[in-house]
């Protein structure tokens, strides 16, 4: 029986070729998208689970009960003190993440000048780090218990030493802790993509215990209990009650730390560090649950649209299958036998679609991965429960739609089909309409979402920022700071300024679009109001050219003088405020702030107030900012003419390498730096645009099939009307009107849903556009246009047919 079913199924697919192609294409596309997104979900879900004992590892954090977010940067001496008191702790490891970033100088021979590499991902860790997190060793033992030991990743080793062994070699690391030599004890395999803890170079914490290797940064002393800067991970004995342990840890911590009153210790499982297990998860996470969930929602939406397509197209085909169904009944088939036969067809079609979708996924995988910047593959689907989920969705979709279609197709009474197909009426008309409405509602929501996303993005990118990003090149300053470095920086600025193509040059210790230098509290007017000392200010260290170079306008006062720079802000005690800072300090306006003294431990004089500008993206409100004078050398911003950019940069590079020997020259364009902040929105925009495109495409395919069917069904009516004098337009109207009505209904349903969702989404932006009526009109018109064009093709064909032919057939 089964082989007969299969045979008939394949014959039918071939016979109704157009329908089969539309059906399979829609389904394959839907399933393909679903698979791709399932890969992504699986990838995000599987983070930090490669260590064999990951279930027992927790990250400790301090909550003071007031702030939502806890403090994850704990004092370096804390972990050891806690372990001593709590035997349930089997092991701990600390990470000073990216603390050692700077320049690595690699000497192949003892005497050579060495090759310098700028390295950002350089972390200080404890000796047991590699073993603790289950990072695989490739070479050496990777133990970092001794001072001045380091471990590097396999690709870093390859970069430094090529194919030569790296263990035992010595590298020089220049960073905020001065210049220190490290012996490599191990090379580890590159960190798995599904790890939130990443590092190219690991340095031993032990090193920092020696003041000689701290370069005056005594806050970093790894036995101290004062400044918190380390992530602390604890491995707890299996079977320990987590809540009770956290409670105990809280008590002990209040004894260990002097100012820990009211503080609560909380433990976050390692596996939950990436993806929050729920929406109201109060720990910090690196992944985004909301993205994963919205992606999943999109995937399911598209899959559902594809299945609905299948249901619609297959049921309308029923008329041509009615006779077969009826004859089979007369020949003795029971209804269930007929249902199984049609169900077999659905299964065959699903299997074909599934195969094509796998091919499709393989084909687009590289583009998808480049776009998401994630190493996804079909293999990920078999990693965890996702596999079962995917199977469930595909099987459920197949069975549900298959059974529905089969039920409709097998419902005809044999007598009616034998009397003649022309008299048949197909049931489920309203259901088909509902399905079309659902498909287009989903499509219209996606279209409106896409428009809103891009509108917000454009808004953020085109707002007047209050500063100019154009034609600015940012050059990273030297990594080692010492007294002679200041002279070198001044010399660099002076020589670059001489170049004919350079307009202006400024030095600052951070740049717009990237961040501030630090934030500070306890800054007040001389006569502060209550609570003023708790207000926070974003501090930025700049030179006197910063404001001019960036076209930042002064409201009152002037920029710093060269003399203020030379002495630096701790000595000259001068500051410049932005308007927001002046206001937060309690000055009525900029004019009143000028020349006033403010209290920040010592008294500082306000020498200028600038107009507010957007230092960071429009996600955030403008922060109260305080500018501090210094001969900065973190970043040099050069305003230059746009012509011959590459050649001009090369000239600057020459000067840089001459004045800062051994320092790698790196540069970026400021507008790109600033734009990077909108990457998320750009990606979201692309994703929603693709999703909308695909949804509309699949829905339109379905509509195409339905219209083809309607045209076929009404062929006699059309013939009669034409004989009676109807023109092409009348006929097109006859076929299209019903469908267009459905699309209009969809728009009416979709608009409030989209409005609600997008309004909510926009809330997260400090500066945002509103939802305008034209977005809905545009989204709706787009859907109507596509639907009309789709239906038009079919109705035109029907309308131009020769009526004599269609009538003779009757």
């Amino acid at each position: 029986m089964l082989s007969t079913h299969l045979k008939i199924a394949t014959r039918n697919l071939r016979r109704n070729f157009t329908f089969s192609v539309i059906n399979i294409a829609g389904l394959a596309l839907g399933i393909g998208i679903f698979l791709l997104i399932a890969e992504y979900v699986s990838f995000e879900w599987g983070f930090n689970r490669f260590a064999s004992n990951y279930k027992n590892i927790y990250r400790a954090s301090f909550f003071n009960g007031k702030e939502e977010k806890g403090d994850y940067y704990l004092p370096p001496g804390y972990a050891a003190a806690l372990k001593e008191k709590l035997p349930a702790i089997e092991a701990y490891t600390r990470i000073g993440e990216n603390l050692g970033g700077g320049v690595a100088v690699v000497h192949q021979q003892k005497a050579d000048a060495g090759q310098a590499y700028r390295e950002g991902n350089v972390s200080f860790v404890d000796g047991n780090f590699l073993q603790f997190f289950g990072w695989k060793l490739k070479e050496g033992n990777g133990v970092l218990n001794a001072a001045q030991t380091a471990a590097i990743s396999a690709s870093t080793a390859k970069k430094y030493f090529g194919l030569n062994p790296a263990v035992g070699k010595i590298i020089e690391i220049k960073n905020q802790f001065g210049s220190t030599l490290y012996t490599i004890t191990g090379v580890y395999e590159d960190v798995p993509a599904q790890s939130d803890i990443k590092a190219d170079v690991l340095l031993s914490f032990k090193t920092l215990e020696n003041p000689a290797f701290r370069n005056g940064n005594d806050w970093a002393d790894p036995v101290k209990l004062e400044s918190g800067y380390t992530y602390n991970f604890f491995q707890i004995r299996p079977g320990t009650d987590q809540a009770a342990f956290a409670k105990l840890a809280t008590q002990v911590t209040r004894q260990i730390l002097p100012d820990a009153k009211g503080l609560k210790v909380e433990l976050q499982p390692l596996k939950d560090i990436h993806l929050a297990p729920s929406f109201n998860y109060h720990f910090q996470t690196y992944g985004s649950l909301i993205y994963v969930v919205s992606f999943l929602a999109i995937a399911i939406l598209i899959t559902v649209i594809a299945w609905l397509n299948y249901i619609n197209l297959s049921t309308v085909q029923a008329l041509s299958r009615a006779k077969e169904s009826g004859v089979r009944k007369v020949l003795g088939a029971t209804r269930s036998q007929i249902i199984i036969q049609f169900l077999t067809e659905t299964v065959v079609l699903t299997v074909i679609s599934l195969l094509i979708s796998v091919a499709f996924v393989t084909l687009v995988q590289p583009y998808f991965n480049t776009f998401l910047e994630k190493p996804l593959s079909l293999k990920l689907l078999f990693d965890n429960w996702i596999c079962a989920g995917v199977c469930l969705v595909v099987i459920a979709g197949c069975l549900f739609s298959g059974i529905y279609v089969a039920t409709i197709l097998s419902a005809f009474s044999p007598l009616k089909t034998i009397r003649g197909v022309a008299n048949l009426k197909l049931g489920g008309v309203s259901i088909r309409k509902v399905l079309v409405v659902f498909q287009f509602t989903a499509s219209v929501i996606l279209i409106i979402t896409t428009i809103t996303l891009y509108r917000q993005l454009r808004y953020m990118q085109t707002q007047d920022l209050g500063l100019s990003l154009k034609q600015k090149v940012v050059i990273t300053g030297p990594s080692v700071i010492n007294s002679s470095g200041i002279d070198q920086s001044v010399a660099f600025e002076n020589r670059v300024k001489q170049l004919p193509f350079v307009g202006k040059i400024a030095a600052s210790n951070n740049v717009p679009g990237q961040g501030y230098n630090f934030s500070a509290q306890g800054i007040t007017k001389l006569a502060p109001a209550a609570g003023d000392e708790k207000k926070s200010y974003s501090m930025l260290i700049v030179d006197n050219q910063y404001f001019d170079t960036y076209d930042i306008k002064f409201k009152e006062g002037r920029a710093f003088t060269p003399a203020m720079l030379i002495h630096g802000w701790p000595k000259t005690r001068k500051v410049i405020l932005n308007e927001s800072a002046a206001k937060q300090l309690g000055f009525a306006n900029a004019e009143q702030a000028l020349g006033q003294k403010i209290n920040w431990g010592k008294e500082f004089e306000v020498v200028g107030v600038i107009k507010d500008y957007h230092h960071l993206s429009l996600h955030q409100f403008i922060q109260p900012m305080i500018f501090l004078p210094a001969v900065a050398d973190g970043y040099f911003t050069i305003k230059m003419s746009a012509a011959d950019m590459q050649q001009h940069i090369n000239q600057i590079k020459k000067i840089y390498e001459e004045l800062f020997p051994g320092e790698p020259f790196t540069f970026s364009f400021l507008d790109e730096v600033f734009d990077k902040q909108y990457r998320t929105e750009q990606k979201m925009g692309s994703i929603f645009m693709s999703a909308a495109g695909i949804a509309v495409f699949i829905a339109a395919m379905g509509l195409f099939g339905l219209a083809a069917f309607t045209a076929k069904q009404k062929v006699k009516e059309i013939g009669i009307r034409k004989v009676l004098g109807a023109n092409v337009l009348h006929i097109v109207q006859l076929i299209s009107a019903d469908f267009i009505k459905l699309v209009l209904v969809s728009i009416v349903i979709a608009s409030p849903i989209a409005w609600f969702a997008m309004n909510k989404w926009l809330q997260q932006f400090a500066y945002r556009t509103g939802m305008s009526w034209w977005i809905f009109v545009a989204g709706g018109s787009l859907a109507v246009t596509i639907a009309t064009l789709t239906v038009m093709v079919q109705s035109l064909r029907a309308a131009s047919a020769n009526p004599v032919k269609s009538l003779r057939n009757e």
Partner: protein, 225 residues
Amino acid sequence: MLTLKNISKYYQVGGSKNFVLNNIDLDVEEGEFVSIMGPSGSGKSTLLNIIGMLDQPSEGYHYFMGEGVHLLKEKQRTALYKQYIGFVFQAYHLIDELTVYENIETPLIYQNIKGGERKALVADILDRFNIVGKKDLFPSQLSGGQQQLVGIARALISKPRLILADEPTGNLNSKQGEEIMELFRKLNQEDNVTIIQVTHNEKNAEYGSRIINLLDGKIESIKNI
């Protein structure tokens, strides 16, 4: 073999009943060859469908092989006609997607007959009808007469005791029609298969042993030959 008593079929139109069949009494014995004649709309096909249990009468009693059909549930009715009745249609109603062989085989599949036995039965009937060479062709590749031949072969495959034929020659030319009627006669006489046919054609009707004339849902006359 079958008995119809006071069989009526009507549709309610407004307040009045619109009779298609009106108080029909009919007995058919095993081995008979009955032709039903009458003008369009006289109720011939409805009568045939009721006999074949594809349609139910509005009133009356219907006995088939000693069972009261009017008392049976649909499942039981299906089982009954599946076992005893074969249908032949004017428009052949072959399944377009299936080959000649598969069309003939289909009723056997629904009777859960094993593959080997099916093969033997189909081969036998193909041979008997002289259409072995056509077994792999699709209906669209056959002439009307050949299609009807396949239709009859399909009706006979499950060895029915009664064949119901609704204008079996209606779509055929006279020569093809004659061949089909000869075949029916042979089946009736040699294999003792009971046949009830509906026809317009006076000449074809005379192949039967009895001709029943219907007019406006009533039996107008019965003629024994």
